[in-house]
Subunit: 243 residues, 2 copies
DNA sequence: CTGGGTTAAAAGTATATACATGTATGTATG
DNA sequence: CATACATACATGTATATACTTTTAACCCAG
């Protein structure tokens, strides 16, 4: 019978701490199999639901792997991963104490080309919104933002004044994002990009391709080009604090 | 009385889906306050524990905010964020069914320059390990990997044969990472990088700067340069499934 | 020895119940 | 009018119980 510490934290947290403390110490053998829920119930003197909650939360935090009918195991060391917050660029600029301004180059309704319609996973051709906006930080262009928007989810997209409301803010209000895909690459600026961002043709740019889903439907496709030398994406992440 | 769909998924998932479907539709008023647990119990005909679990998981996924004694509210729109898995490049290449090979260019002990010592947050100058490795995918160089390693945490780093074990694998075995910082940018290849990666000087490269911590101590600093046209970082992320 | 059914054990889910804890509100009292 | 208390209501936690689903091991018949 093990006695858990007499602190103020809830019981399931104490059970989590107890288990975490025993992970990696070799206490649970070379097959890394934990005691069953019922064994933990017996040894810790708490109810099975409490043990189950602790184990479930540690599992969703990536520390454990559970197999129904088999048992609970210590998860293999996780790959390095990081939460990159790809923020609203307007908010980011303001947060740095600088002035944000945007300039709308294009705001139209188009019939998508075949490749684009494929990206939207459309069965048949329907028209979509298309916008191109340049974002400035203190009158210096830093990001070229091209967006394609599914009108069935965001019907009034073309009625907005995006020199006032950031496109990002508008979209986030309108539709809940259930899934996001990002592809980050480095590309040389083409003539048009170079002109809009005020950089040389062929200069290095960070290019971010994003698709967002609302349910099973692709809501938006964004192509964000960051003026290379003026921008980078950063993040700091504590794996252990994600539980 | 609302009837939940008659699917195979567990009840608490149906409750989560029901709540998610009603977020953003304005169904829950301009103060964005959800019905209380007991009201949901009455309207959905499930037990309070099941409703509670659904609400708790949606809260930890960031969709809701709960205040004890007050109620449950729709969380303000989150910044779009994504989990970028910056994987072991060797594993990634193998997973694509290709052949991975690496070539060690440098493996030495050096006294860090001032800037580097600062990055390590060293109080006084101590020597560190320095390695430069090129990673090949089917004999095509794709990544230049420069690493600086804190010898107090990984004392045998320079004894390894990194043409056999990937540096990543070795480091992951040796030290638990408690915190990671990434900075991603796009840079033109300098002469040396261009030579090692077999690309033109000035060609666009994705550049990833990573620092990892073990406790309060900086364990490693990595500078990874990806041959631009040959590589991109991708991710797909479901916010609702991160509970 | 092999195949198949039985059984035991493990995690997964769902409920009813109880009590704890935090917040807002209304009311009585000074 | 203001403070303090009581109260109602919200979420938070803990337990006992029951049933389900999945897996592995065992035993037995062929």
């Amino acid at each position: 019978m093990i006695t858990l510490p007499d602190t103020a934290s809830p019981l399931y947290e104490k059970v989590k701490d107890y288990i975490l403390a025993n992970i990696g110490t070799g206490r649970w053998g070379k097959d890394r199999k934990l005691p069953s829920e019922n064994e933990l119930v017996a040894s810790l003197g708490v109810s099975r639901m409490t043990v189950h909650r602790a184990l479930r939360e540690l599992t969703s935090a990536g520390f454990l792997i559970r197999l129904q009918g088999v048992g609970t195991f210590i998860a293999p060391p996780r790959p390095q991963s990081t939460l990159i917050e790809i923020n609203n660029i307007a908010a980011e600029i303001v947060e740095r104490g600088n002035r944000h301004r945007s300039e709308v180059l294009v705001l139209e309704t188009i019939m998508p080309a075949k490749e684009l319609a494929l990206s939207f996973e459309f069965a048949k051709r329907v028209s979509i919104y298309h916008s191109v906006v340049v974002n400035f930080e203190n009158d210096l262009p830093v990001q070229l933002e091209e967006r394609f928007v599914n009108p069935s989810l965001i019907p009034d997209y073309d009625k907005q004044d995006f020199s006032k409301t950031a496109t990002y803010d508008y979209l986030m209000q309108k539709t809940p994002v259930t899934e996001v895909e990002h592809i980050i690459s480095a590309i040389p600026a083409d003539a048009e990009t170079a002109r809009h961002l005020g950089i040389d043709v062929g200069a290095c740019c960070l290019f971010l391709h994003r698709r967002t889903w609302t349910g099973a439907v692709v809501a938006t496709i964004s192509k964000l080009t960051y003026a290379g030398s003026r921008y980078s994406l950063g993040s700091r992440y504590s794996p252990s604090k994600s539980s």
